[in-house]
Symmetry: C2
Subunit: 394 residues, 2 copies
């Protein structure tokens, strides 16, 4: 009677949700400060003051009918101009307002791009570990998700494995750097090698292969790490950006798609984006939040807090004997479970009130994700528990 696959999807209780509910129950039982919840990917740092000031300023001084009225479907022209100017200045690109399409965050950027380009039976490559929703989004287009295992330990793209995975049906590759859940940032070298291979394969198969770069964590990098701007390396690129993490506004659903000015049939690409947004029911992104982010383009939430958390957690866990990837960005630590089964490891962790997420659904069994977008005090208080957990396996 209803779409069977969607009923199933709606009923699947996500692991993270299960942990969330367990956390609430446990907190009620033993007190919130005794439960060390590292399962959530919600920014713990408030939005910068500029955001709230912009909201108040707009509501008080901007004409209400214009402020809350429809913008054009692709977004307010002035906002799009400001964003393209900002990107050009920062990355040396040549975008115009007509390469920017405002969206309700990264998830909608992705569904819009995927609907615009993926046809049934075509293939879209992703690299482990990858965000499980990619599979959900792709399924509705009729296209196929093809996971490619990353290099061990570094979690950079394994170019040889990628080479083997590309077929005539390959239409797109999704990259996510800084990565959720590994925290890894792809190096310039990785990006150059990947782009060279894709160009070679485009020639070999005689059709375009698109790179979709999912970048909600772009601003969350530490120690002056550079995140290569893919449009500068590869023509057929769609950038899916979100302000969720940069400005700590995940609930407000605001982001954009940037279409490379050098993309093949670039006007058709942008038209397909507009068509997909319309067909999926996205009338426009929030008219007020479009104008809010325009006033905060150069700003971010206080990232230094995440860096402090990263340093404390990474160094402490390494000292205890945990094996983990050094995260250059995002707010996750990707830790090898100390036994084969990550679920079993997470159950054991619960005995010490540590709530971790098994990474099986990210395509990487045997690993767990530890979110450090938490109060630093929680990390300090949890170190004893992490130590006891490690001791169970020594």
């Amino acid at each position: 009677m209803y779409s069977e696959s969607l009923v199933k999807l709606g009923k699947v209780r996500s692991e993270i949700r299960e942990i969330f509910e367990y956390a609430n129950k446990r907190k009620a039982e033993i007190g919130a400060d005794k439960v060390f919840d590292f399962s959530i990917g919600n920014p713990s740092v408030p939005a910068p003051e500029t955001v709230n000031n912009a909201v108040i300023d707009l509501v008080q001084n901007f004409d209400s009918v214009a402020l809350h009225g429809y913008t054009s479907a692709q977004g307010d022209a002035k906002v799009r101009q400001s964003i393209s100017d900002y990107i050009n200045q920062r990355f040396g690109t040549k975008l115009t307002a007509n390469h920017i399409y405002m969206t309700c965050g990264a998830a909608s950027s992705l569904t819009i791009v995927l609907n615009a380009i993926m046809l049934p039976q075509e293939e879209c490559i992703v690299f482990t570990p990858y965000f499980p929703e990619y599979g959900v989004f792709l399924e509705r287009t009729g296209a196929k998700l093809v996971p490619v295992e990353s290099e061990e330990k570094t979690f950079q793209i394994d170019i040889e494995r990628l080479k083997k995975a590309i077929t005539e049906k390959t239409k797109a590759v999704i990259i996510n750097s800084p990565n959720n859940p590994s925290g890894v940032v792809y190096s310039v070298e990785t990006i150059q090698k990947m782009c060279a291979l894709l160009k070679e394969k485009e020639k070999e198969y005689g059709h375009s292969i698109f790179v979709i770069t999912d970048e909600p964590y772009r601003e969350l990098v530490y120690d002056d790490v550079e995140v290569p701007y893919i449009i500068n390396y590869y023509d057929n690129t769609f950038v899916c950006y979100s302000y969720s993490k940069a400005l700590s506004l995940p609930g407000e659903r605001i982001g954009y798609i940037a279409v490379s000015p050098s993309m093949e049939c670039e006007e058709d690409a942008y038209a397909a984006i507009c068509g997909a947004g319309r067909a999926l029911g996205y009338v426009c992104a929030s008219s007020m939040y479009q104008r809010v982010i325009e006033k905060c383009l150069d700003d971010t939430a206080d990232i230094s807090i995440y860096k402090r958390n990263r340093d404390l957690l990474y160094n402490s866990l390494k000292d205890m004997g945990y094996q983990c990837v050094y995260p250059d960005g995002a707010f996750y630590l990707f830790v090898k479970a100390m036994c084969e089964d990550a679920h079993e490891f997470c159950e054991k962790a619960k005995e010490f009130e540590l709530l971790l997420v098994p990474a099986d659904s990210f395509g990487t069994p045997g690993y767990v994700r530890v979110s450090y977008c938490v109060q630093t005090k929680q990390i300090e208080d949890a170190l004893g528990a992490f130590k006891k957990l490690a001791e169970c396996y020594q």
Copy 2:
């Protein structure tokens, strides 16, 4: 290379958009007050003060991380509880928070419901005149749009025609009352007859037929007209509500789906809604605007302005010899063109600087839509032009 149908959709320049651009050009040429633009469906009345006060209060007094953080996909539990309480109190229904799913406005409410229930080849009935985007939304599900002509003059549902249109493949019926573009409100009698027929057909074919009621104009009714609450008349009902017009917030994209508590396999229905929202990339509706509308549930923009406009425009045009439906709601006057071709009529209107929308794309050739969500002065100033236009056909 891209989805052909979506490229085409993205390139189609809507008639209303064309008129919008013509209006801007013409205003620059002869002055804004000389151009009488009746083409736009954007609320002209500002949001009530309570909305802006709620925004400022939330930003100043609500914890920033919670305010701008993700809510659950179906929406904040407290907000959903408040909405279901409000609906129950107003319409005597028995909804709970778990029958409400917060959305980014009516368009996303519709795409989510249609994706949840419509399978390829199934049929969805709409009544002329109908919102052309219904066809766009349905096309992506693989289902078929079946337009049924309404009664002449009254534009109520023609039950005999509906009876003939229902087949074994009929899965849903979309109603839109108050109607865009006719302004007509379906009477209790119309709704009762429609529901009786649908129940009969459900029995005959042995499967559910859903009513999807698209209600962005529910609050915009004049003279104490009653808009029947469909859940009270028919079990298998999805209400697609939006605050766009009620609170003059069309750009903020906030609304909800209400699933009837008596719906067949109600839990599956709600799960399918959740699954569809997820698959289409709707993570959650704006976390801040969810809480804003919670504080304004009993409020609306100043509707009396639309009533004043309606009375002035309808009475004046009737006096001039125009044939038009008396609009009980929304902010449109549906006028019979004075020649056969509505496009030709709108071209003629342009000679008097009147910008009207031909209603061919709404499935009703020979009619034009006149939006009266404008400053009252524009209507007063335009009456001479309407008179001259009528005189061309006398």
